[in-house]
Amino acid sequence: MKKLLLVCAAGMSTSLLVNKMKDAAKEKGVELEIFALPVSECQKVAHEVDVVLLGPQVRYQKPQVEEIIAGRVPVEVIDMRAYGTMNGKAVLERALELIA
């Protein structure tokens, strides 16, 4: 199963989006593991995820995350508008595009 990591400051608001994305995945019939972590903890799972999405509020930490991931999988900042509107479907689709 593909693993999708969302990164933000404390994991609070991102976990909201994670729930929306899980709903969207279920609706779409895609099997996916989606979870949120603060940047400080993403090292631990870096080797097992298939894509990393950053909350726009921590977009300046992208270089740090990219260093951890070391080009293995795609790293991208979530679109502000999609994040703000908690548009789980849009973010999920973008993630699937990145994995594909």
């Binding site: 933000c8 609070m12 726009p56 300046y60 930490q61 502000m80 508008r81 703000g84 509107t85």
Partner: protein, 448 residues
């Protein structure tokens, strides 16, 4: 839009790189994450204080409301059951911090994190004031393991983390065991020399400092660094400046509170813990030693999250005609009650919104000053009980003051003030974007 574009360009050139530096600089990250990680434990201590003095004490406000002391006359005896939690949490915070900072440093420098943390703790006690012998038993002062030792903990954590990581990478200092030796054993041998060097080094430094300054390293750092920084932090000007900087960062879509966390914690941690200890001793927030702390921000100026956006949401429900505003409002109200507001900030958005950034920065500053005036004028006691920042707005003021009803009322006044200040800006934003909105919607549909 020309002005806004120039403004954004300016921010991306100046503010964003600074924020990025602050958030990736390993010493700052190590300090910030140490406070984040120890937070649940200090929170446990704070909740016990709240439990002891609000519920179990006969004159506690919850006890009074529920007539608990009439139902259970011996309730107060239970206080002594729970108060040791304080001894295992906030009263030994410096021990957690020194371990965590040294550990975090080793993580970012890719060294053995656990042993780095332990070495930090070891050094913390190497430079600790020596035992005093009373009637054949040895005693260690508790003075520096809690709030007052925080700076030593931070400095030792950073130095040990740095030294440990550097030394343990030196091939000449490693003792490599044959493969047949269990990994746990060879792991500790690998860093044996670095640990010996660090501990001996600090023992020598400690002896030298003690020779010059009889109060020792702890006393020296407390007087030379921690006390000045604390007095710098615990005044209204610093408080307002910190809030403005934090909210200004959000305007550019950067997590403000997170970015200033290391500085903020360093300034206010001791004052917060001293306040909590005052409450634990006296059972009241009146007369707490540090009336001006960051807690004022949480109690009066952070409802809904940064920028006090609960006021913005209410303003939207009152006057907004734009459907997207009302939709975001509905989506944001539930997390907003618990002071989480990324949907508002990125959804409306507030980010780089030339109209909304004005009240977003103004409202918290106004409300901090309202809270400050109420406290220094003696209308309400200081916010001495620590309450988690995710507690719904006015309740932070109520619980933080130990159940003061005027503080609760003032919380609602602040909420009304924030709504009133946001109202004209929401009306303006509605008018300004009414035309552009049609285009924008079809736009976001494509990208979304």
């Amino acid at each position: 839009m020309g002005f806004m574009a120039a403004f954004e360009k300016f921010a991306e050139k100046t503010l964003v790189p600074v924020a990025a530096k602050l958030n990736s600089q390993r010493h700052i990250v190590a300090i910030r994450d140490a406070f984040i990680l120890s937070f649940p434990i200090t929170l446990a201590g704070s909740l016990i204080v709240l439990l002891n003095f609000a519920v179990l004490a006969p004159d506690g406000f919850i006890a009074k409301i529920l007539f608990l002391h009439k139902l259970f006359p011996n309730l107060a005896d239970l206080q002594s059951v729970f108060s040791p939690v304080l001894n295992g949490s906030v009263n030994i915070l410096s021990m957690f911090i020194v371990f965590l900072v040294a550990r975090n440093m080793a993580i970012s420098l890719k060294a053995d994190e656990l042993l780095s943390g332990l070495t930090g703790l070891s050094v913390f006690f190497i430079i600790y004031p020596p035992y005093t012998n009373v009637d054949g038993a040895n005693f260690l002062t508790t003075q520096w393991v809690g709030a007052q030792g925080l700076f030593v903990a931070l400095i030792v954590g950073l130095l040990v983390g740095e030294l440990f990581s550097k030394l343990s990478k030196s091939k000449r200092l490693q003792i490599n065991m044959p493969d047949s030796v269990p990994p746990a054993v060879s792991r500790s041998f690998k860093v044996l020399f670095p640990i010996i060097i660090i501990t001996v080094l600090f023992a020598i430094v400690n002896a030298l400092i003690n020779a010059i300054y009889p109060d020792g390293l702890h006393g020296f750092i407390y007087a030379a660094i921690q006390t000045p920084l604390k007095s710098l932090g615990t005044n209204i000007v610093s408080l307002v400046i910190l809030a403005i900087v934090s909210n200004l960062l959000w305007v550019f879509g950067i997590h403000g509170p997170n970015t200033i966390a290391a500085i903020r914690e360093a300034m206010f941690a001791e004052a917060n813990l001293e306040n909590l200890n005052f409450v634990a001793e006296h059972g009241t927030a009146w007369g707490a030693p540090y009336p001006v702390t960051w807690a004022i921000n949480d109690a009066f100026a952070n409802y809904g999250g940064s920028g006090m956006t609960l006021g913005l949401l209410i303003a939207i429900f009152i006057v907004a005609k734009r459907q997207d505003y009302r939709d975001i409002g509905k989506l944001s109200i539930a997390p907003g009650i618990f002071n989480i507001n990324e949907p508002v900030i990125f959804g409306l958005p507030v980010v780089l919104n030339p109209i909304l950034i004005v009240p977003f920065i103004l409202v918290p500053a106004i409300n901090i000053i309202i809270g400050y005036v109420a406290i220094v004028s003696g209308l309400i006691p200081p916010i001495a009980y620590s309450v988690p920042w995710t507690t719904p707005g006015p309740l932070i003021a109520f619980l933080g003051t130990g159940g003061n009803y005027i503080a609760l009322l003032l919380g609602f006044v602040c909420l009304a003030v924030s709504t009133l200040v946001y109202l004209p800006f929401v009306i303006a934003a509605n008018k300004a974007n009414a035309v552009a909105y049609g285009e924008q919607k079809s736009d976001s549909d494509v990208s979304a």
